[in-house]
Each structure stands twice: as C-alpha cells, then as structure tokens.
C-alpha cells in the first residue's frame, strides 16, 4: 500500500482530534459532589493546597505568609501556595481555570460573585452549622448564600458610608448629620457654594457609578433581585427614586458630575472641595499617606446613608469572601485552612495588614484596626451593612454592563424610564442565559 502525503496528513489530523477529544473527556480525580468535612481531624490532613486571592497585595503579603499560613502549615503539615491576582483580572483567572478544570482549592472573590460561581458548581457548599457557630451578623452573610445554602464566608470587608468636614457643617450651623434622604439633599444644597460642592458622590473615590446607584437603591428600600435571584427588581420604584435623587442633586449643583480628581491626586473631599462625600473604609490608607490631617481625631464626621423610605439607615458592603473549590482534590485541608483564616486571631492579622474591616468585631485587640476611624465606624454599624451588589447567578454578566447604563442616565444620554428599562433588559437577558 502506498502512503501519500495527503493520507499522512489526514491520519495525523484524525489522531490529533481523537487525542484532543479523549483528553477533554477524560475525568480528573476530583469529585465535585464530595462534601467538605470541617470536622476532619487535623492530624489526618496532608498534602498541599492553593489559595487564589486578589488581596494580601504588597506589604500585606508577608503577614499572610508568615503569620497566617506558617502557623497552619506547622500545625497540620499542609503546605499552602498563594496565587495572588489583581482584582481586575480575577474573573479571567477563575474562568480560564474553570475551563481548564484546574483551579485553586480556596478562592477569594467579591460580594456578588458567590451566586454565579455556586450556580456553576465551582464552589463547594459550606456546612451551615459551622457558619452559625461563627456568630457573624446576618448582614455579612446575605451574599454568601445561593438557593438557601452557604457557599462562601466573609474574610475582609470594605464598607461605604458618608463622611463630612465638621468645620463645613459648623460654618453653616448644621449640628447633626441628616436623618433622611430629604435632609441629606437639603444639607448638600446648603453646603454648596464658595467653591465647595455639597456632596461628592460620583467622583469614583469610593466606588463606581454602579455602586453609587446600588447604595441609593437600598437606601430607598429597594433591592437588585428577588430572593431566588431570577427576577430583577432594580428597575422598580426605589430604582427610579435612586436615579432621580442623583439627577435632582446634579441639577441643583449639590452633586457635580464633573468634579473628579486626576489619577493619583487626592479626592475632592480630601482637597476640601466637597463638604460631604461617599467614603470607603479602604480610603484610610490613602488618607494616611496623602492627607494625614484627615486621620486626626474628629477631623472627619461619619454617618450612614439615611433611609429614603423610612426604616433604618444603610451601609454599602463590599469585601472579599472565601470559598472552597468543589474541584479541590484536598477539600478537607482546604476546609481546615478556611476555618483557620476565619479564626478571630487570624482575621485580625489579615485585616490589620490589608487595612480592611473584619467581618466581626469580636477579634483580639489590634492597634492598627483600633486606630482606623473608618474601620471602627464600620464595625460599630455592621448590622446596617445591608446594601450589597448581586443576589443572582447572572450577576457577573450584569455587573460590568450596569456601569455604562447608570453613566448614560447621569450624563443625560438616557432618561430615567429608559435607563430602568435598559437595566431590566440587561438583567432579563443575563438571567435567561443561566
């Protein structure tokens, strides 16, 4: 039989296709259905696990390696490797890992990420009795659930509220922070003038336009999705009120959309070009480096977002949540390390190093945390941290596109009803693809 060049090529292609198909179809050794045993005896643990985290960057990395991982490895014999990834590329890292069936044993993500990855079966269920034993406030557990089961736990929070310059309040004879959204609007207008804007809400120093909208949505008594995450609710009346509130303030001049600081420059609030501002607990690090006078006792007043429809004030909750990969080959060790990281002592060390807020005030005394006025305010008001992004398995698709829709409304390119319609269409489309 004569072998032609064409037949060799055809045979090679067929062999490559076969090998590829077989490789893709071949199962690994991990069992996604295997439950996590958080009661496993630590003496039985062995091997190695990996942690994928967007946190513990720069100076915070040494405390993670030396003060959190080292004692765990010494105690259990399990080694922990850290894969540190930028927040902006975390989704790509997880997505390629999922596609390749090769992902870290422990994955740290943000608020709103739990439901999408739990729905895809990437996160393993965490036993409810363990979570209840931690004594965390319900407000920090809301975004850890999917279909009534727990899939993540808060490790470090980034909380947002409002800050003001007390001298600006004193100059106008304002003695108390506002208690309602109407009062907030009035005070913002009163403080506007003489080169100062009443409220810096959109400069991006404490989040995106999307997050600014979500914060107000909750203040007006709304929420993003229904309980099961399958119906969007952000386009309903509270959503309309939230958008309209921002537009009205912009029309009055008490919120200035154009008031932005250049990259690397202090925010309008730091420059005292704004009397009040949206403030994130993470701003403390920037303040202490760039505007240390703001970190002095009493230099900045803080208050929660007042309610727009009665009820309680609200605080916006961002942060980093830890989950166990359902594809982990060493789930018990991963579970043991998650427990270790959630130990109050290690929560304190980690959050102190990162300048973030631990998910519980019950941690050992820590000078760094105690001297951070923003963290202290956040911890004192944890039960109000109910404004959270997400709540639907479709949220990863909604998340980025929502920014543009809100911006369109704020820049006058789209009316409020059209914006709400766009939001609904975006969510419906994403949910239909689940």
């Amino acid at each position: 039989m004569q072998i032609s060049r064409r037949s060799v090529l055809a045979a090679s292609a067929a062999a490559a296709t076969g090998i590829g198909a077989a490789a893709c179809g071949a199962g690994g050794e991990m069992d996604p259905e295997e439950p996590v045993d958080l009661e496993a005896d630590e003496s039985t643990l062995s091997g190695a696990i990996s942690l994928l985290t967007p946190d513990f960057v720069g100076d915070a990395r040494a405390p993670l390696d030396e003060e959190i991982i080292a004692p765990f490895t010494e105690r259990t014999g399990v080694s922990v490797s850290v894969d540190q990834v930028d927040w902006n590329k975390l989704n790509e890292k997880i997505s390629t890992g999922i596609a390749g069936g090769i992902i870290a044993d422990l994955i740290m993500t943000g608020v709103g990420w739990t439901q999408p990855f739990a729905e895809k079966g990437i996160f393993a269920e965490i036993p409810a009795d363990f979570i209840e034993s931690l004594g965390f406030d319900e407000s920090v557990l809301v975004s850890t659930r999917f279909e009534g089961k727990y899939y993540s736990l808060p490790q470090a929070l980034d909380l947002r509220f409002l800050g003001y310059h007390p001298e600006a309040f004193a100059a106008k004879g304002i003695e108390e922070p506002p208690a309602t959204m109407d009062e907030l609007a009035e005070i913002a207008l009163e403080l506007t003038g003489d080169g100062m804007v009443g409220l810096d809400y959109l400069s991006g120093s404490a989040g995106s336009a999307r997050q600014a909208f979500v914060f107000l949505l909750y203040a007006f008594g709304g929420r993003m999705f229904s309980e099961d995450g399958m119906t969007p609710m952000l386009h309903e009346e509270p959503g309309r009120l939230a958008l309209q509130w921002m537009l009205d303030r912009m029309a009055e001049g008490s919120i200035n959309y154009d008031l932005r600081a250049a990259e690397g420059q202090p925010s309008p609030f730091q420059q005292k070009k704004a009397a009040m501002s949206l403030v994130a607990t993470g701003n403390w690090v920037t303040w202490s480096q760039m505007s240390p006078e703001l970190c002095e006792d009493g230099a900045v007043g803080l208050f929660l977002m007042p309610p727009g429809a009665g009820g309680d004030p609200v605080m916006f909750q961002g942060g980093t949540f830890i989950s166990i990969s359902s594809l982990s080959k060493n789930k018990d060790a991963a579970g043991a390390f998650m427990k270790h990281m959630l130990d109050p002592e290690y929560l304190g060390i980690g959050n102190s190093a990162m300048g973030k807020v631990p998910p519980t005030p019950d941690i050992p005394p820590d000078e760094e945390i105690e001297s951070n006025a923003l963290t202290q305010f956040g911890l004192e008001n944890l039960p109000y941290a109910g404004a959270t992004e997400g709540g639907s398995a479709a949220y990863m698709e909604v998340r980025t596109n929502l920014d543009g829709i809100v911006e369109s409304c704020l820049t006058g390119k789209s009316s409020v009803p059209a914006t709400l319609e766009d939001m609904k269409a975006l969510c419906d489309g994403a949910i239909s693809r689940i």
């Binding site: 490789a23 930028d86 790509e92 420059q265 760039m290 505007s291």
Partner: protein, 311 residues
C-alpha cells in the same frame, strides 16, 4: 559688449532682487524655526507622560497629594525605588520578563522569518490561502483565543503529570513552556517578514540555486541578511510584547518565581488605594530597558517600519 552679456553681477546690483532673496531666506528660516518649535512642542507633549512618571517616581507621597502638584519634585525621594524593590521580588520578576522577552524575540525572528520567506518567495499552490489565513488571524483578538490556548497548554500530553491523552495533571501550567511557547510565533510577525521578503530581488534566489546553494542556505545566507531592519523590527516588537505581557503570564502561572515584572507592578494597586510613588518607581524601572533598546536601535526600527509599509 560680450562682457556685459556674460556678467553674472546683475542680480547683485538689483536692490529689489537682493531684497527678494533675503526675504526668501528669512521665510525659509522662519519656516524652519516654526517647524522646529512645533517638533519640540510635539516631542515634549509625547514625552510628558514619561517625564511625569519619572518625576513622580522620586516624589514624596504627600507631595503627590498637593494641589497643584509642583512640577519639579521638592524633596528627592530615591528610597521610593528601594521601597518598591523591597515590596515585591522585582529581581526575580525582571529576570523572568527578560527571559520571556528574549525568547519571544529570538523565536519570533526564527519562525516568523522562515514563514514569511516561504510565503513571499516559495511557490506553492496554497501560498495565497495561507497568507490570507495569516492576515485573518491578525484580526482575532487575544481575548478570543485565551481559553482555547489555555486548554491546549493545560492538556499538553506527557507534561505536568498528564497522560498521553493530556489528562490527569496540569500540563504546562505554571511552567516556562506555558509562558514561552504560545508567544513563539505571531501571525503579525509573519506578515511583517513576508512584506520585507517581497521587496528583495528574486533573481538572487535563482542565481544562488544555479550556484548550488541549498534552499535553507538561500533563506539563511542570501535573503535574510538583506532584511536586517526587518529582523530588528520584529525582534524589538516581540521583545516589547514579551516584556509588557501581563494577562497571559498571570493566567498560566501560579507561583511567584514565574511571575513577570508587569504582574509585580500591579501589586502597588490595591482594591481601594494605590501607592502612586511606588507604582511610578516600579513603572520607571520597567520602562527603562525598553527605552534604552529603542534609543539604541531607533534608526533600524524606523527604517523597518518604513520599509514594510506599515508606518
């Protein structure tokens, strides 16, 4: 009489002609000055971000916060560089970037020139189709190919504990193979080389064949030396792409000892804050090798782009 007609002194003695010449000279001088001023301003405008980066790299963080920020740093803070180096294992990251960039440059020159030469000078029936396919590949965005390439790397048979079917292990993930091999050839570089080879005389190939030079010898010793600007252009572009590569190394590596300098720079940005003084110091350190390379090879680089018609 004859002397009158031959004398060239007439224009010199004509005051109006002399004035016209002076005026033309002045206009030329003015024009040249205007062009020079325009070029200087344009150069400053282009260089401004780099100058700002270099100046910010030696500023104190509190000075960065001043509004308006002084143009010249008031307090030279060179320890920003030592702080940046201490913050992350920059020596390891720089070494990795250098290896990755050098490998990308060498491999792209080797494979790209061979492919480009074949497409430009060797006659085979599928040449136009292959060239069209190469050009089409240039239009595919990197993001569209990330997952397929990741899967190929992860399922590489007999590597990283994988079986012959590419399952059971991690393949090339977290190895130098994953960093280097997918970037070893780029359709754009093949296109660039093809454009260079097209401009070379085919008669040389025929003459070399008559002289008994092998086909590889014609490619390596006769034709390729004719496109030196092209070789340097591709080498520089590939080196630059390898040096600045961020996403791919981040996706296929998990350990610090394989991370590259761009990943190290990202460590100065946190979720809610950025250490601008350290970020600028790190960015300056990362930009210096590329600036030096460009300064040394800029003539070839510009010639290369001009010759390939992609200027």
């Amino acid at each position: 009489m004859a002397t009158d007609t031959l004398t060239p002194a007439l224009p010199r003695t004509d005051p109006s002609a002399s004035g016209r010449t002076t005026s033309m000279r002045r206009q030329k001088r003015l024009g040249a000055t205007a062009i020079l001023v325009f070029l200087i301003l344009s150069s400053l405008l282009m260089a401004a971000p780099f100058l700002w980066m270099a100046l910010s790299s030696i500023r104190d963080p509190t000075e960065l916060a001043q509004v308006p920020m002084p143009l010249i740093p008031q307090d030279l803070r060179l320890e920003n560089y030592t702080d940046a180096l201490a913050r992350a294992p920059f020596a390891t990251y720089a070494r990795n970037s250098l290896i990755l960039a050098t490998a990308a440059a060498v491999l792209n020159v080797a494979f790209g020139s061979a492919c480009g030469y074949a497409l430009a000078k060797l006659r085979f029936r599928l040449a136009p189709a292959v060239f069209g396919w190469m050009v089409a590949c240039i239009m595919i965005p990197f993001y569209a190919t990330v997952i397929p390439v990741f899967l190929m790397v992860r399922h590489m048979p007999l590597f990283g504990g994988n079986s012959i079917l590419g399952a059971g292990g991690t393949g090339w993930i977290d190895t130098w193979w994953a960093l280097i091999v997918p970037g070893a050839i780029s359709p754009f570089m093949v296109f660039l080389f093809r454009q260079f080879y097209v401009t070379t005389p085919s008669e040389l190939i025929e003459a070399a064949r008559l002289d008994g030079v092998s086909e590889f010898g014609i490619y390596a010793r006769i034709m390729t030396p004719l496109i030196k600007p092209g070789l340097l252009t591709v080498a520089l572009l590939s080196f630059e792409a390898g040096w600045n590569n961020f996403l791919w190394p981040l996706l296929v590596t998990t350990s610090d000892n394989l991370r590259v300098i761009q990943v190290g720079i990202a460590s100065f940005r946190q979720e809610a804050s950025t250490d601008w003084h350290l970020l600028m110091a790190g960015t300056t350190m990362a930009a210096v090798p590329m600036i030096i390379l460009f300064l040394v090879f800029q003539r070839y680089f510009v010639d290369g782009f001009a010759a390939s018609g992609i200027k």
